[in-house]
């Protein structure tokens, strides 16, 4: 005895509504999104955009076609109330149809494949007259070195507008860091797609901004505890501003006048006492001679940056003070476990006053 659960009619309109609804949301996407991959601001983000837009239209057409077939079948071939219970025609297949839905998608894909391969080589080649910046990914901050100018900086990378910038990237500088390095990824969506930074290897990425401004990004390869707190800022300056930025960054810091609070801070920076690690053992404030950065960010022109701690906090006196007093409360790190990040130095209030004053003087 066979029993059939009652066949009920069912409508799939909610699927359609959902699809249209999401399409509407797609179109509405814009607004205040500053890390928007769909809003290219330079040739190396425009090229991928130009490739994906036609593909997105084709995908949308295929989507509508297939979902349309499904919805049509469901409505048209539902068992009707007055059904006589007979079986429908038993069709086992159709060779011509199989060939069509093998060949047509293959042709569409082949048509997409050609510009894709061209695009791969286009965006990865080294541009002419590029400015080179070396990028080093640390847990959990990005460091930038300008070999042409011998500039070290962190979190915020300055570039000239309209000029291609060739990034030579690696993760962790084994010569100077307790961090043997993990993989990170450099991603500023409005300027270029992302590229991983791999310890022990050099990878390359081209970026270029066509308009002055501040472009946001962040590390896009999971790199452990504070992966979410590893942000990128690219400041694109017009030529004159870029030149003055370079001039400022290539000027050494001057030691504060004796007897000031800042001078006390400078002393503490180099010698904390009580067996505590001095700031200078990891951070450099370059005053003369060759620049030789430690394992932490270079602080010579700290106040020229708007944010710190992986660019998650504004560079304010209050934040700096909290950071020095209890770094883990501002950004989780693992100094106590494996030496990665900033240690808590048990600073007294007086020491904090002096060190913060010194930091604020590093313009």
């Amino acid at each position: 005895m066979r029993e059939h659960p009652p066949a009920r009619r069912s409508r799939r309109t909610p699927v359609l509504v959902g699809a249209l609804g999401s399409a509407a949301l797609v179109l509405a996407a814009c607004g205040d999104a500053e890390q928007n991959a769909l809003d290219p601001a330079g040739p190396f983000s425009q090229a991928p955009q130009d490739l994906i837009i036609p593909v997105a239209w084709i995908a949308l057409a295929v989507f509508i076609f297939v979902q349309g077939l499904i919805i049509f079948s469901v409505v048209r071939f539902r068992t009707r109330k007055d059904d006589d219970g007979s079986l429908p025609k038993q069709i086992h297949g159709n060779t011509r149809a199989e060939i069509v839905w093998t060949v047509v998608p293959a042709v569409i894909l082949a048509a997409i494949a050609v510009p894709t391969v061209q695009g791969i080589f286009e965006v990865s080649g080294e541009p002419d007259d590029a400015l080179t910046v070396e990028v080093i990914g640390h847990r959990w901050w990005f460091e930038y070195y300008y070999p042409d100018y011998d500039i070290y900086t962190a979190n915020e990378m300055a570039i000239p507008v309209g000029t291609p910038v060739r990034l030579e990237m690696t993760a962790a500088d084994l010569q100077r860091s307790a961090d043997l390095g993990v993989i990170h990824s450099f991603w500023v969506p409005r300027l270029a797609g992302k590229q991983d930074l791999v310890p022990g290897q050099t990878t390359f990425l081209n970026v270029q901004a066509d308009e002055p401004g501040r472009y946001l990004g962040q590390c896009a390869e999971y790199c452990g505890l504070s992966h979410a707190n590893m942000r990128i800022r690219v400041e694109a300056y017009d030529d004159a501003d870029f030149e003055s930025w370079v001039a400022a960054q290539t000027t050494p810091a001057t030691a504060p006048a004796d007897g000031t609070l800042e001078a006390q801070g400078r002393e503490l920076f180099h010698e904390l006492g009580d067996g505590r690690l001095a700031c200078a053992s990891c951070h450099q404030v370059w005053e003369d001679g060759a620049r030789s950065p430690g394992q932490g960010p270079d602080l010579t022109h700290l106040m020229s940056r708007e944010e710190f701690a992986g660019a998650i906090h504004d560079m304010t006196e209050e934040n700096l003070r909290q950071w020095l007093a209890d770094p883990n409360s501002m950004k989780p790190m693992q100094y106590e476990v494996n030496g990665i990040g900033m240690p808590n130095l048990d600073l007294s209030d007086d020491e904090l006053d002096a060190l913060v004053a010194y930091m604020l003087s590093l313009e």
């Binding site: 959902g18 999401s22 297939v66 086992h92 997409i112 390095g181 791999v198 310890p199």
Partner: protein
């Protein structure tokens, strides 16, 4: 199933009890093992689902910290590991266990004790992974476990390396078991091209497991040795190569995607024809497309590494292979749609989930093609766009298909129907919750939100915040929907409506036998003369070419009285699969904590278990007993007369 010895001695007797607690833990019955897989999956699904709930809670608003970074990273890692290795794969294994012997007309799998070994390996592997929460913290290096982050002790990834390897051994044993079963134990007359598509997909899947698992095993052993014992396979400071790990991982990892999706494709290839009341459109095309996916699936792995250090030539090559795997996938989708075309569709719950599969999987397939546009992949990679994509494939695809299978074969297992009203409520809320959760992620990813971040940065803007809020609301819908499902499941087990033997007017051999399935599966092993054998026993064409039901007992080809098995041999229960797999625990903890005593204990335990297994006697007299399970000829006739 034959034996040449009548008497063997062992240092322990063989369990004979088939019921109660002992009956379950010593069972070698593929049906019981399938049920145990299923119940265990429900537990791990609950855990993995709760972990994702915390993820959605944390990301429901910008700059929120419900969980610390440390705990968040453990939760997202364990969510991935759980859903891949402890839910989708073993849920497929539950179907393989229960259905493969039934659909090919066999009484059990080829190696029943090895089958029990696979289950216990799965259970202990899962418990081992979850014990990490109590032993210094769960793995927090993401489910891909990229070195060298994963070799850093703070990532706790030794638990991952060892735990996944235990699960891998279990899956590898199961793969060999199912391949041998399908190749050797098909009923007389069941040629390859008469096999149900689910059996074909099971065969392809298990070959994928057979070839893919050894690769990840090597990678995980190297990772384990790097993390705990000081080797430097992946350590760049001493000449190791972190990219090597990525290649090994994805050489396994991409076939793994098909390992998760092909069983569900097999399931809906059974359900769509039954509920369209038509045969599968283009059987051969669907089968060959499945096999083609299996082959090409080994040649696309580096598309997970387009932004890694692989260079433009490799990027181009893998872009092409990735695009072309869309062709066989498309063939399947069109054949499913045209299976419905011209049919008389019945919209019961299994059918709804199957149609949902085709619809949702199409979306995941299309976003997959966009990943192959390599220059733009660099924008999509490691963002929520990718999270959306693979949830459309593995949740909208694999899980929808597997749930369709649960509703479809529930009567086979229990003899009862799941409640249709609750089933439909489950489907519509599931579909809504799923799209609400994962649909917006396409956009939040393209608008700049990377995955695996414990914080939703406020600077991404209010649009991204809105999408994340929608995703979190969608989670709540899914949560409620899952409760409806669980309630329906438990309620239907207890007091579901009786289903009869063949509630769906089905086509394949498992329905030829009574529901719930009797202990010996088939009173007589059926002889197969057609694809969709059972359907052909029920229907024939009359003189006018119209398809009409065959009156009960009228089929000359299949006179039930003529089919009579004199002797039914069923596998004996055994203690040893359970005893031996327990040895994985000391061995595994030894590998995680670098404790050679524990490693030694575990090894000895495993070897002793193996010897116990080897010299285990057959249950006394079993082989020579006359068949005492043979039902009366009347019952048999009722079972197969349609």
């Amino acid at each position: 199933m034959s034996s040449t010895t009548t008497e063997r001695t062992g240092y322990a007797g063989r369990p004979r009890q088939r019921d109660g607690f002992m009956g379950w833990i010593t069972t070698t019955d593929h049906k019981k093992i399938g049920i145990m897989y299923f119940v265990t999956v429900l537990v791990f699904f609950t855990l993995g689902g709760l972990e994702s709930g915390f993820i959605r809670w944390q990301l429901g608003q910008a700059e929120q910290s419900v969980l610390s970074e440390e705990v968040y990273n453990q939760f997202f890692t364990m969510h991935g590991i759980t859903m891949v290795f402890l839910v989708v794969m073993p849920l497929s294994a539950a179907f393989f266990n229960y259905l493969i012997p039934l659909m090919i007309g066999a009484r059990d799998v080829a190696f029943p004790r090895l089958n029990a070994f696979s289950y216990w390996g799965y259970l202990f592997g899962g418990l081992f992974l979850y014990s990490s929460f109590a032993l210094g913290g769960a793995p927090n290096g993401s489910w891909v476990g990229y070195a060298p982050l994963s070799t850093d002790a703070v990532s706790n990834m030794a638990f991952y390396a060892v735990g996944i390897n235990i699960l891998g051994v279990s899956s590898l044993a199961a793969a060999i078991n199912f391949i041998v079963t399908i190749l050797n134990m098909r009923a007389p007359g069941m040629t390859f091209m008469r096999m149900p598509v689910f059996i074909w997909m099971a065969l392809v899947t298990n070959f994928l497991l057979l070839f893919a698992l050894p690769i990840i095993a090597v990678a995980l052993f190297m990772l384990n040795l790097d993390a705990v014992f000081g080797t430097q396979f992946f350590e760049p400071a001493t000449g190791g190569d972190p990219i090597l790990y990525q290649h090994l991982f994805w050489l396994f990892g991409h076939p793994e995607v098909y390992i998760m999706i092909l069983p569900a494709m097999g399931i809906i290839s059974e359900i769509l024809p039954v509920n369209s009341r038509k045969p599968l459109f283009g059987y051969a095309a669907v089968v060959f497309a499945g096999a083609a996916i299996g082959f090409i699936g080994f040649g696309v792995w580096a598309h997970h590494m387009f932004t890694s250090a692989i260079g433009p030539v490799a990027r181009s090559a893998f872009a092409l292979s990735t695009m072309f795997i869309a062709v066989p996938t498309g063939i399947k989708i069109f054949n499913w749609v045209f299976t419905m075309w011209g049919g008389k569709l019945r919209f019961n719950t299994p059918m709804l989930f199957s149609i949902g599969f085709v619809s949702m999987f199409t979306i995941g397939g299309l976003s997959g093609v966009t990943h192959a546009i390599v220059p733009h992949n660099a924008q999509q990679h490691d963002t929520y766009y990718v999270v959306a994509h693979f949830h459309y494939v593995l949740f909208g695809g694999a899980l929808f298909g597997l749930i369709a299978g649960i509703y479809f074969w529930f009567p086979k297992v229990t003899g009862k129907l799941m409640d249709e009203k609750l089933g439909k409520l489950h489907f519509w809320t599931w579909l809504l919750g799923f799209n609400l959760t994962f649909g917006p992620m396409h956009m939040s990813g393209l608008l700049g939100q990377p995955r695996r971040t414990a914080v939703l940065p406020g600077e991404l803007g209010s649009t991204v915040e809105l999408y994340n809020l929608l995703s979190s609301v969608g989670y709540l819908v899914l949560f409620g929907s899952a409760l409806v499902f669980l309630y329906n499941l438990i309620r239907s087990v207890k007091r579901g409506e009786a289903s009869g033997d063949d509630p769906w007017d089905a086509r394949t051999l498992e329905w030829i036998t009574p529901s719930p399935t009797p202990y010996e599966n088939f009173h007589a092993i059926p002889t197969v003369t057609h694809r969709d054998e059972f359907w052909h026993r029920k229907y024939a064409e009359d003189e006018a070419g119209r398809v009409v039901p065959v009156p009960a007992g009228a089929s000359e080809d299949h006179d039930p009285a003529a089919e009579h098995d004199e002797h039914i041999h069923m596998p004996d229960p055994s203690y040893w699969p359970l005893v031996q797999t327990l040895g994985f625990l000391p061995f595994g903890y030894g590998l995680v904590f670098g404790n050679f005593w524990l490693i030694g204990l575990g090894l000895v335990w495993l070897v002793v278990g193996m010897y116990g297994w080897i010299i285990e006697p057959l249950a006394e007299g079993d082989d020579d007993d006359p068949d005492d399970h043979a039902p009366s000829s009347g019952a048999r006739a009722a079972a197969s007369a349609h």
